[in-house]
Point group: C2
Chain length 342, copies 2
C-alpha cells in the first residue's frame, strides 16, 4: 500500500521538472530523446500512471462516455433488467470505448435534473442516450456542449444530435410482407405504444405498406399495445390478442421479448405456433434460435449498433468535427420456425 506515485515523484527520480514528465506523457514533441528516455525509465521504475481525476480537471476532458438509460415509470428500479437488448448494446459501447481509451459509465435517470446533473458533475465527454425521454430533455441537451448520440429516435427536435438507428420502416415492411407471402391476411401488429414511440410508428408504416401492396386494408382492430418490453407484457398482450376474435393468424411484433411472451400465451391457451399463429419478432436476440419454435424475426445487429454509436461519439469528441450524422443500419428477415405458410 505504498501510496501511488505522483508526477512529482517521477520528476524527482528522473531529475527533471514535473512539466517535462507531463510533456513526455502527452507526447508533446519538444523533449530530447535523452531526457525522454530518462523519464520513461523513471516511470517504469516507479510504476507510475497518471491520475485521471487530475488530468480531467486540468484538461477539462474526462475520457468518460456515459450511457443513459430510461427508467420506465413504474419500474424505476430496474435500469436494464429484463431487457436483453440493452445488454448487447452496452457491450458494444464498452468494447470500443475501452479500445479508444475511454471509460464507460452507465446510469438510469428519473427526472430531467438528475440527468443534467449527471452529465455536468462528471464532466462526461460524450453521451449516448438509449430510448425515449421527454422532449424537454433534448431541449436542455442542446445547451450542453458535448457530443451526444441518440439511439433510435425520429422526432424533429432530435435531429440536432448524432443518431444511430436501424431501418425500422423496412423492418416492419419485411415482417408483414413475409406473412403476407405466406398467405396470411389478418395480421396483428403488436407495439409498445404507437402514440409514444416513433420507432413503433415507423415499423407500423412499413407494416401497413406491405399490407396495402397485397391489397389488404389495414385496420386499427389489429393493433395491440403493451406497456413495456417484458416477457410478461408479451404474455399479457398475447392473451388479449387471443380473446379478440378477428380471425388473426399472423402477428408482427416490435420486439423478440414480446414475441416470446406472446408465444407462451398462445401455448398456454392450447394453441400452437406456427400451426395456429405465425409470429415474427424484432431484434434477433441470441435467445431466438433456442426457443421452441425458434423465432422468425427481423434482425438488427445491436452489438454493432453499440459499437457504431460509441465510435461516432468518440470521433465527435476527438475531432471537434461537430457535424451531426445519422447512421442507419440495415435490417434483415431471418426466417425460422415460428411462421408457416397458410
Amino acid at each position: 500500500m505504498n501510496k501511488k506515485p505522483t508526477i512529482r515523484d517521477v520528476a524527482k527520480q528522473a531529475g527533471v521538472s514535473p512539466a517535462t514528465v507531463s510533456y513526455v506523457l502527452n507526447d508533446v514533441k519538444k523533449v530530447s530523446d535523452k531526457t525522454k528516455a530518462v523519464v520513461l525509465e523513471a516511470i517504469e521504475q516507479l510504476n507510475y500512471f497518471p491520475d485521471f481525476t487530475a488530468v480531467s480537471l486540468s484538461k477539462k476532458k474526462s475520457n468518460l462516455i456515459g450511457i443513459m438509460l430510461p427508467i420506465i415509470e413504474d419500474s424505476p428500479a430496474s435500469v436494464f433488467k429484463n431487457n436483453l437488448y440493452y445488454n448487447e448494446f452496452v457491450s458494444g459501447v464498452e468494447l470500443v470505448a475501452r479500445n479508444r481509451k475511454f471509460d464507460t459509465m452507465i446510469t438510469g435517470v428519473g427526472d430531467l435534473d438528475e440527468c443534467k446533473n449527471w452529465i455536468m458533475k462528471r464532466n462526461i465527454d460524450g453521451l449516448i442516450i438509449l430510448g425515449m425521454f421527454p422532449e424537454s430533455l433534448y431541449n436542455e441537451l442542446k445547451n450542453i456542449n458535448i457530443p451526444i448520440a441518440l439511439i433510435d429516435t425520429y422526432e424533429d427536435y432530435t435531429n440536432l444530435f448524432n443518431n444511430v438507428k436501424v431501418n425500422d420502416e423496412y423492418g416492419g415492411y419485411l415482417a408483414a410482407k413475409h406473412l403476407v407471402e405466406l398467405g396470411h391476411r389478418n395480421i396483428a401488429f403488436v407495439a409498445t405504444n404507437l402514440a409514444m414511440s416513433p420507432v413503433d410508428r415507423k415499423r407500423y408504416q412499413g407494416f401497413e405498406e406491405a399490407l396495402k401492396e397485397a391489397g389488404i386494408q389495414p385496420s386499427s382492430k389489429f393493433i395491440f399495445e403493451t406497456h413495456d418490453i417484458t416477457f410478461e407484457d408479451g404474455a399479457k398482450v398475447g392473451k388479449e390478442l387471443l380473446s379478440s376474435d378477428h380471425g388473426i393468424t399472423g402477428i408482427v411484433t416490435v420486439s423478440d421479448v414480446l414475441a416470446i411472451g406472446i408465444i407462451k400465451a398462445i401455448q398456454q391457451e392450447g394453441k400452437q405456433v406456427p400451426a395456429d399463429y405465425s409470429i415474427v419478432g424484432f431484434d434477433d436476440l441470441s435467445i431466438c434460435k433456442y426457443i421452441t419454435p425458434s423465432l422468425t424475426t427481423i434482425r438488427q445487429d445491436i452489438f454493432e449498433k453499440g459499437k457504431l454509436a460509441a465510435d461516432q461519439l468518440v470521433n465527435a469528441i476527438e475531432s471537434l468535427n461537430s457535424e451531426q450524422k445519422t447512421i442507419e443500419m440495415p435490417v434483415e428477415l431471418i426466417v425460422r420456425e415460428s411462421t408457416r405458410s397458410l
Copy 2:
C-alpha cells in the same frame, strides 16, 4: 452554453468566500442559518452544482464504484454480451449506487495491468469483481486500499475481501434431490469447468451428496463440461450428452443458459423434455418461465445479489469499517415443466 458556474461564482453572488460555500455544500455545521440561506439562494439562482472531478481530486474520493467483468479468452470482445446473468446483476448495482450517490462504471479487462490501471487511474472508491480472475490479480488487489466485493468466489486467497455468494452447494443438492425424488438414477451434471470453477465444484458437491443419500454411486461418466456460458455451448454439450449412452434421464445444470441450449439440442435430436429427459437449470432468469417447456431451476436472486454487493461496498467505503464480510444468499428450487416423474 453559458459556461458552468463555479463555486467562486456562487461565492461572489452570495457575498461570501468560496470556503463558506463549500461548508454549506458539505454540511459542515459551522455556518449560520442566515449565511447558509444566502448561499443556498445563490446556488439556486445560478443553478450551480459542484464539479465532481474537482471534488474527487481534493477529497481523494470519487464516489465511483467499478464493476469489472472477466473477458473470456476467446471472446475478449463481448463483455457481458449473451449472458443474461450480468444484466440483472449490474442493474442491481446501479440502482443502489445511484440511490446512494455513487456512479457506476463498468469495464471488461484483459490482463492484470489493465485492471490495476483502471482502478488507480480513476480513483475508484470501491470495486465489484464478477467472475473468476487469475490468482495473481487478487494478490495485487490486496495492495490496493479500497473495499472490494467479490462475487461467487471460494478460493482461499479470496477471503480477504468482501464476498457475496449464494449457497451453491445446497443449490446443487436441491437440483439433484429433486431429480432423485422423481425416480431418476442416471443423472448428468453439466458444468462449465470443474477444475477452474469453485462454484461449479460446490454445486457438484451438493449434487453428489444428494445422489449418495439416495444410494446412487456418482460417476465421472456423468460429468460434462462446456467452455463458456452461452446457448451455443449448451447446445453443443447437449449433443455430446445425447450421444454418450449412459442411460441418462436427468440433467442438472450449472446455468439456465446452458439448460436452454441443451433442451434445444434434445429437441433437435427428436427427443422431448421432460418426456425423455428431465432437466434443471440454475439462476431462474426471467426467460425460464417463457420457454417451452418452462424450466425447472434453482433460483437465486441475481438482482438482489447486485444490490447487496453494492450496499456492502458502499457501507465499507463510507464507514471505513473494513471488516470483511461474506454474505450468502439462499437458493430455492422452482419446479416447472422441464422435469417429470419417471
